[in-house]
């Protein structure tokens, strides 16, 4: 790994994994418990449709290489997903044993198998015979990698443009190290690189290279730029030292670049998974008191129940119905944050919206404020291309095709805000869909 690679073994608590790996003994016992259902609900519930019974059966026959192939075939970032997927909402939530017993620990088994493949650095796939077609992928996160892997296997020549020094997107830079160590993500990147995919790093499309130029130079393009930084709260005091963008903080922590201290007390604004990740990172950085303030209630928060429970176990406090009014400071540093209490009113669509209660101001003295209220869109660079977007979300049809026939999109950049959270596994699946559509598109153009 290069010198600029994300590292971080200085801070051990940051790398103490949330879940310990399953032992061989446990893996075999658990695998033998699998019923090997036909038309299995776990496979249907997985957005990438990993053949779960097949990969588990291969554990029982000690064909771990074959097992890893089944997983990674369906999901090019299957090693990361084994750790970050909300399995209780997906495969494990669908397990038929849920009814009479305990669901199979599919995520743990998937981790066991992909760890085996990583430890031995198995090469699981090979590129297809060259088609002579060239495809550019913008963004090297899960969506881009997944598309690249599939396109390379179809035989197309693939170039990924990535603004960061490393690929992997949020898997490499955004998901906290104690849930997803960086080497897992980078192994998946190497698996894709081995297929002959060219990876151009440190290049920001729209800034260092013109988007329209790329569209003209390639046979097809995949937009997989994800989302951007955390938007501002738009309240006074955000320029103070001690106010953090959650993603910037996590990135520094994960890259081992974070030095110094966050102080004795930190407030996190928001209640999605990013907020949980920022709050638990703060805990693991040694902040004694970490509190999450959210403008709605536990019911509306988008963090998964397992994430919520994990944060509580790590010692994070939760406060509901609180609207930030201003960040207070002294000598350029944060000293506190003022909130207004909120109550629910109904908006035009009958949805509950938090409205401030007049005169309910209260101040929380604090050393740091981390904003974690979602992510901004990074699609301005598309404006001159005429590609259709809606509130910054790229519009696509069910094949992942944008309004420009040559341009496809996948991952967080097509994720329209709803009640759920964006997921790595969805990005992976969309990358596969975009790749399959491009393959069809290019084959049709040929024939």
């Amino acid at each position: 790994m290069n010198a600029d690679a994300p590292v971080g073994d200085e801070i051990d608590s940051l790398h103490r994994m949330v879940y310990r790996p399953i032992s061989q003994f446990e893996a075999l016992q658990e695998a033998n418990r699998c019923l090997y259902c036909y038309d299995a609900p776990c496979t249907k519930a997985c957005p990438t449709h990993i053949d779960v019974p097949a990969f588990i059966r291969k554990i029982t026959t000690k064909n771990l290489q074959g097992s890893a192939r089944v997983i990674m075939e369906a999901n090019p970032v299957g090693a990361s997903c084994a750790r970050v997927c909300p399995t209780e909402q997906l495969c494990e939530g669908a397990c038929v044993l849920q009814k009479n017993a305990v669901p199979i620990r599919i995520g743990d088994l998937q981790r066991y198998v992909t760890d085996f493949a990583r430890d031995r650095d198995l090469t699981l796939f090979s590129p297809g015979p060259s088609s002579g077609k060239r495809v550019a992928i913008l963004g090297g996160g899960p969506a881009g990698l997944s598309a690249a892997r599939e396109l390379a296997r179809f035989g197309h020549t693939v170039t990924i443009y990535e603004q960061k020094p490393h690929l992997g997107g949020l898997d490499t830079y955004g998901i906290v190290p104690f849930r997803l160590p960086v080497d897992i993500s980078l192994w998946e990147v190497e698996q894709v690189r081995k297929l002959g995919v060219e990876m151009v790093t440190g290049v920001r499309v729209g800034q260092d290279v013109d988007f329209n130029h790329i569209v003209n130079s390639f046979d097809a393009v995949v937009l997989a730029v994800g989302m951007g930084t955390v938007p501002k709260l738009n309240i006074p005091g955000e320029e103070l030292e001690g106010v953090w963008d959650a993603l910037a903080l996590i990135e520094q922590v994960k890259s081992g670049l974070f030095k110094g201290s966050l102080g004795e007390h930190v407030v996190v604004i928001g209640a999605g998974n990013t907020a949980i990740d920022a709050a638990t990172s703060a805990c693991r950085l040694g902040v004694p008191e970490v509190e999450i303030y959210y403008r709605r209630t536990q019911r509306e928060m988008t963090a998964y129940p397992s994430e919520f429970n994990f944060a509580k176990q790590e010692g994070v406090g939760f406060h509901w119905l609180s609207l930030p009014k201003q960040i207070l400071g002294q000598g350029g540093r944060v000293t506190g944050i003022e909130f207004l209490k909120a109550r629910f009113a109904e908006d035009n669509n009958g949805r509950p919206v938090p409205v401030p209660i007049l005169g309910s101001e209260f101040v929380v003295p604090t050393d740091g404020v981390i904003r974690a209220i979602g992510q901004s869109r990074v699609t301005e660079f598309l404006q001159s291309s005429g590609i259709k977007t809606e509130h910054g979300v790229i519009s696509v049809n069910s094949n992942g095709q944008t309004s420009h026939p040559k341009v496809f999109a996948a991952g967080d950049c097509i994720f329209a805000k709803g009640h759920s959270e964006a997921m790595v596994v969805e990005a992976a699946q969309q990358g596969k869909i975009a790749a399959a559509s491009i393959h069809r598109f290019l084959s049709e153009k040929n024939g």
Partner: protein
């Protein structure tokens, strides 16, 4: 990809995995599905004079949460008209010309009847025939199946009748319900068989319902002995395959049957001399899709060892199967317990203490736990502790031979004899 193709006495198959003649190969629809799933060959459900089956037919032996460790069945040969079967066989062969399609046959032990059915089946274009001299119930009561298969002379006679008209390779499928399978195997070879397959099902009565007192499977309130198959029979079948493989008089290819569920089972069969394997119970339990891992696992196994072709496995363990009297009496192993991984379940302790040779000690530790320590001087190397240990790799049987030259019982007897005669 390693070369997985095999050739059983002229029957070519892209991989060694065949479906055994049984309910999974009852119809064209099923065999087509199996071939789509990847099976290299199939032996069609035994054809003959269509019979009437009973209901219910099977019962499973469940053991500690594992279903169908063995099953017993009362099913007979096909209950479908010959013409339907022949039409479907032709269709399947046309759709899958690269797979091995073998048809199992059973008729009365009458020369003309054999000639008649062999000709009819050959006409539709099959790759081989398998003579079912094995069905241990029902058909045997009618003088067929194992009633023929248990008597070497009948086996030879019936095989000869078939060979008089056979134009494709013929396998003789043997019954395990005999004292020494080599006699019937040799008889099949003498009769002209091109290959032998084994085993058919084993006589069994799988259980009694302790509430109703009816044997299982029950037909009305009655039961009858059935044929036993599944993982539980594999050791019996492996023994029979290896006995035939090392018998110079059974010098024909073997198709191994009995309890095959995984690629590892197949590797064992091949190492002990089988050229292909046949599967019934495992697909009845899990469906045809298990063949995907069988092919994948076998290929990965071969590639990992740099073995180019699966045929390179065939018979590799046969020279290592010998008679007891030739085993080295001076070889000695002793159990070693890896304290790092031991979970102190004490299962090895009680096994050795009460049922073996009292050579594992419970040594109290400062932390209140006990450490299990083997007295290697006393250990006879029976393997029992390693067998009861639930933790893989915890107990290893280690070679502690003293370097004394190898000496078998036979050699010792010969020496004693020499000593005495001096």
């Amino acid at each position: 990809m390693a070369d997985l193709s095999v050739n059983v006495a002229g029957i070519h198959s892209p991989n060694p995995f065949w479906l055994a003649s049984a309910p999974p190969t009852n119809s064209g629809y099923q065999v087509m599905r199996a071939f789509e799933a990847g099976w290299g060959g199939a032996v069609w459900k035994t054809l003959g004079d269509p019979i009437v089956n009973v209901s219910s037919r099977f019962a499973g032996l469940n053991w500690k949460g594992s279903q169908m460790v063995g099953i017993s069945n009362l099913e007979l040969i096909t209950d479908r008209p010959l013409a339907d079967n022949l039409r479907e066989i032709r269709e399947v062969k046309r759709a899958f010309p690269d797979r091995a399609l073998i048809v199992s046959l059973m008729v009365d032990p009458v020369r003309e009847q054999w000639h008649e059915i062999v000709k009819q089946v050959q006409d539709v274009g099959v790759d081989g025939l398998e003579l079912n001299f094995g069905c241990p119930h029902g058909m045997a009561e009618r003088g067929m199946g194992s009633a023929v298969g248990q008597v070497p002379e009948y086996v030879q006679q019936n095989t000869e009748w078939v060979m008089e008209v056979a134009q494709v390779p013929v396998l003789v499928k043997l019954t395990p319900n005999v004292t020494d399978i080599r006699y019937t195997a040799r008889a099949a070879v003498k009769g002209g068989a091109n290959a032998v397959s084994m085993i058919n099902t084993i006589n069994s009565l799988i259980g009694v319902d302790i509430n109703t007192w009816s044997p299982t499977p029950s037909v009305d309130i009655m039961g009858a002995h059935g044929g036993y198959s599944g993982p539980a029979v594999k050791p019996i079948a492996l023994h029979m395959v290896s006995e035939c493989a090392r018998d110079p008089h059974v010098n024909v290819p073997i198709s191994g049957i009995g309890g095959v569920s995984t690629w590892q089972d197949a590797v064992e069969y091949l190492l002990l001399g089988a050229t292909s394997v046949q599967v019934c119970t495992a697909v009845m339990n899990h469906g045809f899709r298990i063949v995907e891992d069988m092919i994948d696992g076998l290929n990965n196994y071969l590639e990992a060892r740099g073995i180019a072709a699966v045929t390179d496995l065939i018979g590799k363990s046969v020279p290592r199967v010998t008679d007891w009297g030739r085993l080295n009496l001076n070889y000695q192993v002793a159990a070693r317990i890896d304290q790092e991984v031991c979970i102190q379940c004490n299962k090895c302790y009680i096994a050795c203490e009460e049922t073996a040779h009292q050579c594992i000690d419970q040594v109290p530790q400062a932390n209140g736990k006990t450490m299990l320590v083997v007295d290697e001087e006393e250990c006879v190397g029976c393997n029992l502790c390693a067998m009861v240990c639930p933790v893989e790799g915890c107990i290893t049987m280690t070679d502690v031979s003293t370097g004394v030259a190898s000496m078998s019982w036979q050699q010792r007897q010969a020496q004693t004899w020499t000593d005495v005669s001096l």
